[in-house]
Amino acid sequence: MTDFAALSPLVAVLVALLAIAGAALALIGSVGLLRLPTFYQRVHPPTMGTTGGVGLTLLASMLLFSTLEARPVVHEIAIAVFMFVTTPVTYMLLMRAAVHRDRPGDER
């Protein structure tokens, strides 16, 4: 489709493996979100997507574009830092909300 022909086989295989592993972690995270029985258990699997999934996919992207453009492309680091800072905030707010709403006498 595009100019992947210029890539060395080693880089191509590495990028492919990283991208598929990252996507697999995100997919398993969503499967867990769907399959696990209670909310407190369902909180855990999506974290795989936000740590391993994001990390591996961004590594693949950095490797691919740095090789294609023959210069270090590190825009992905901005996303990685942003995700690392924001994910705990969302999850902690959500956990606190769940604990708050599960208090006895709160019928919602």
Partner: protein, 161 residues
Amino acid sequence: MRSRLPFPLLWLSLVAMWLVLNGTIAFGHAILGMVVALGAVLGLRTLQVPARRPRKPITALSLASVVLYDILHSNVAVAAIVLSGRRHGRAGFVEIPLELRHPTGLAVLACIITATPGTSWAGYDSRASVLTMHILDLVDDEASIRAIKERYERRLMEIFE
């Protein structure tokens, strides 16, 4: 207004980040990056976060590598639980008495625990300084408490207290 530049290290890393993201070390970009980073640190100063010079960089590095290893390890562990549907223990809450008091240290600990699949931060009582967390595969309460205290809390206390 103090004349000293607030958060000099943060300012320097913001400028570096700006140059790396733009992919140049051109003079104009360096000036622009410095101005933007100055705005950021001045804005941060109005939030009055407790400034803290990083101490013990070696301990911080060892903490980072331990956290990276644990995140990778628990990614695989949680994936195995989701795919097989089997686990060693049960899911449950654990209460951990903490000795760590520094707010930044607690924030970092919260980030670590939430970022690791399989453990999540469920609450913190600042008066009793007891942390409640939820663990997906809880085999032994005592072992989990010891792991948190020895792997993360001890290093965080060295860095922040």
